[in-house]
Subunit: 422 residues, 3 copies
Amino acid sequence: MAPKYAPSLRRRLPVLAICLEIAFLLLFIFFVQYDDSYIQDEAQSKKRKTVTAIYADFQDVHVMVFLGFGFLMSFLRRYGFSSIGFNLLVAALGVQWATLVNGFLFEFSDGKIRINMMSLVTANLCAASALISMGAVLGKTNPVQLLLMTLLEVTSFIFNHWLLTRFTKMDCVSSIMHLHVFGAYFGLMVSWALYQPGLRQRHEKEKSSADMGKFSMLGTIFLWMFWPSFNSVLIEGKAEKMNAVYSTYFSLAASAVTAFAFSVLTSKKGKMNMVYIHNASLAGGVAVGAAATVIPSPWIALTIGLTAGLISILGCWFMKPISEVAFAMQDVCGVHYVHGLPGILGVLIRIVIELATASNLQVAWNEAAFYLFALYVTLALSLVLGLLTGFLLKLNIWKPHLDRKCFDDQAFWEFPHQAVTL
Amino acid sequence: MAPKYAPSLRRRLPVLAICLEIAFLLLFIFFVQYDDSYIQDEAQSKKRKTVTAIYADFQDVHVMVFLGFGFLMSFLRRYGFSSIGFNLLVAALGVQWATLVNGFLFEFSDGKIRINMMSLVTANLCAASALISMGAVLGKTNPVQLLLMTLLEVTSFIFNHWLLTRFTKMDCVSSIMHLHVFGAYFGLMVSWALYQPGLRQRHEKEKSSADMGKFSMLGTIFLWMFWPSFNSVLIEGKAEKMNAVYSTYFSLAASAVTAFAFSVLTSKKGKMNMVYIHNASLAGGVAVGAAATVIPSPWIALTIGLTAGLISILGCWFMKPISEVAFAMQDVCGVHYVHGLPGILGVLIRIVIELATASNLQVAWNEAAFYLFALYVTLALSLVLGLLTGFLLKLNIWKPHLDRKCFDDQAFWEFPHQAVTL
Amino acid sequence: MAPKYAPSLRRRLPVLAICLEIAFLLLFIFFVQYDDSYIQDEAQSKKRKTVTAIYADFQDVHVMVFLGFGFLMSFLRRYGFSSIGFNLLVAALGVQWATLVNGFLFEFSDGKIRINMMSLVTANLCAASALISMGAVLGKTNPVQLLLMTLLEVTSFIFNHWLLTRFTKMDCVSSIMHLHVFGAYFGLMVSWALYQPGLRQRHEKEKSSADMGKFSMLGTIFLWMFWPSFNSVLIEGKAEKMNAVYSTYFSLAASAVTAFAFSVLTSKKGKMNMVYIHNASLAGGVAVGAAATVIPSPWIALTIGLTAGLISILGCWFMKPISEVAFAMQDVCGVHYVHGLPGILGVLIRIVIELATASNLQVAWNEAAFYLFALYVTLALSLVLGLLTGFLLKLNIWKPHLDRKCFDDQAFWEFPHQAVTL
């Protein structure tokens, strides 16, 4: 049935991608310009420095978004080209759209959006949120569906970010760190809407291979290594920034060790599971994100890493099989256990720290309620908008996948040579 | 016939490499020293800072040169060791030679060349130019030929750079950004001179494999991610530097999306071609290089990316088969469509921008003529010197490849184990 | 016999790892806190800057430790998951322990260890020392043994570092650069103690494959590229720092070229050996480490690179087979020829440079004796403590490997799918 998809993509993907690029171009022509406050106002030397000093951190985040996520998702044995390639496509489109949406909602003054280093970093973080959603539906969506999902996810996430910063007066960094929770639950809802009963018995191709495992390890390690930059890049105060770096470093170290220990413990034969270890090692970085600036001592970072690793492994081991049956929810990359639960844990930890270190308990309880409310808004919006997106993507005009064509590069890629060892 | 090459390499490669290293060593002894202006002149704190602040950018370029190009070229199914290994050899030799030639032509005062961070960056960029040429002859040259080509290419390119900056008073950054055009046409001429009719029908080994495609994707993504550093590293003014970063970022995002769209569109079955996507994604970075500092608005960067991606795909799809037959030109990595045409496009865009933003049109037309003249000199020199180099490399004393030994690691590498799945 | 190991690991590894994490956590609770001198003392702006400015260099070192070493060691055809995975486990545990030991020995004041950027960098360097030791016993130890070895190696190395800085008044950077020598000889002694006669005839699985060779090349190139950061990250003076960067850059370029030349020369068929080239390319970075700040001219860096590459290749080619028979010493990754001999060469070069550039020869001879003494202490301690560690690891309670289970991922990892092409 391959020829059936090929013409479909041939007509739909180029048309959609080119139309989007031209629409972006038109919006950029009328509304976007470079931030030339450098040139006009030489006196603002302080702000100038802040804006350019983050270039090295930006590159770390850039590596995470374009390389880390793509290779992390490349563990499926016949879906390596697609994982890495579609990650590039989705992220490249996502950053352009995020620049526009962010600009319109946050930096729109006298009819112009002004681009600076911060815009690029924020755009990358918003694209990361879409990549998390992509992890949940990996292999079960065609690129046309992925592009639509990216547009809707980025719009929804930035809308949520705008709601939080506008109406709850949450600071920008804390608000944007909801990207893990938002991306995960949005993706899970899309996955639920796209549920295909035929995939209930585990798909033959939905498995890893020894080769792909190493590419996936590469992506995981890049994410793991640069996570301190991810959690600190938007923070302006130097002391808070370093606090976030140190905390993320120790949390990740603890979650990596925990990952190995509990992966062996949950295995019948006492062996290690590469996918569990990937997920749990990264969970430490996610969980520490929401509270990174306020963690008062390194032992708290270690505790967060330990807990996040534990939750991630137990979730994969215990909840994943149940939720697949009970909720008919397929979560290919386990984003619920890398980004979803650890992200919620992060917000709860933030609340506990705020309560524990507060001088005025009344104010602290208000703060706590406020963080809980923000989490509630994020969860609600991600679930509802994810569900709507999922039903939209189910429409037949996007030519969704048939069961047996899932998880296969050959549906989308020309192979110059049919290597035996795919 | 393998034994025939083995002794040849055994005698020639070590002798050539060691002689070159000793020659470099002698030249370094007599002429090169570290720039100790730091120590002697503490007052130059401004310049000191500029020179050391680019270390992080230098590392990005370092990754592109030593890892990005090597892995990008590793797509051939039986030539992975050679692509990655020879890239390291050529680049390591190239940076030493480039340091010397650059030093003699540009920084030779009171009998000494003074090394600083800028020397290292420039040496890396010159080595990149040789790696581009290597892409055109990949798999059809032995390492002895590659070393000779590197020496001659680096010398020629720096000579061209010296001509441009000396006699046309072009600024250093604009001049060095001709490295794409120079490297590509130099390599194409070498490839033309080394043309082997036996390779006209596409060589069985001149194909990719699913495994190597992922390594090649890794190299592509590293090049893609760090291209903003490549285009901005030499720029001194902070506003111009950031302008180059932003422009490269948006151009690359647009060319990546364009790459996917047009790759599907040009495919008979509506599938994606990994090699086209690599080429077209990177074309956006090349095309924006020449004009990166003067691009006034982000939409122009998007337009450049779109156009470059389009030209690259159409070139690969339409021109490549024709030029192989018509001009007997084999371009293994498609450097003409990644570096050649997008590089020329970049210069033309620069001219258009200069004309469009000029306050005095007379001066602007003079500028335009001057850029066209520089492009003309670069093209002429690269074609002529590339051709001469090609004929020199054809001499039998270098024991050139026989047709059926091309594109094969086994001609050069010991395999500890003959894995079945090469 | 696989089931025999599985329960062993199941009980031992999680218990050990979790106990260690909890012990670390308790020590962190009572003794470790963030360095908040930023906040309390705004006047120390100078020191603040130094401490945060190294973040980009730290990330380079981070990449070397967590990705470079892991992938470098991944050349064995059936041991890729373990090489990369255990590297992460060992390094993540090592940095936590190194933070504690370093803190107690060097920064313990008023009952608290204060963490800053320097602590993180130093912890990474100490973990690197343990990873070097791991290279010598790769494939012949289970993760429980690796964790114990890491604890003991890190403790021993930091104890040695403390001795040198405390009693010989050696500066911190020079002392810590003994990590190569210490790690290599410690690992060799452990390997000697764990010697298994059954592995004397080269193990079938102790071989590389074409695929793994490319992952190993990836690790090598990351180490090679970021070595200038490794050698300069701890140096405070700007001029000395740049001196170290330049010297490492040129030494590495020379050793890479030398590696190719001598690899061909020592091969019977005139072919290249990937493993020799890895080792010799990196040897230039090791050898330049001890003297990086005092190298007066770039030609000396080139000479160091040439010599180190030569020693590494000749060692691998000539000494390795002999030492395996004569000393019953198995050195899987060849750490003796990457870190051991080049590290000793580095100290000797430092002595020669100190003597050659001295104004007062009497003082210089004293300096020389002092460096020799430090090297002697390092060698003696690494050999003795390595041997003790080796015998400890041989105890049956750790369930050491049987011969035929060595070098095999299947002893430790669940494979979701038994791919044919392992």
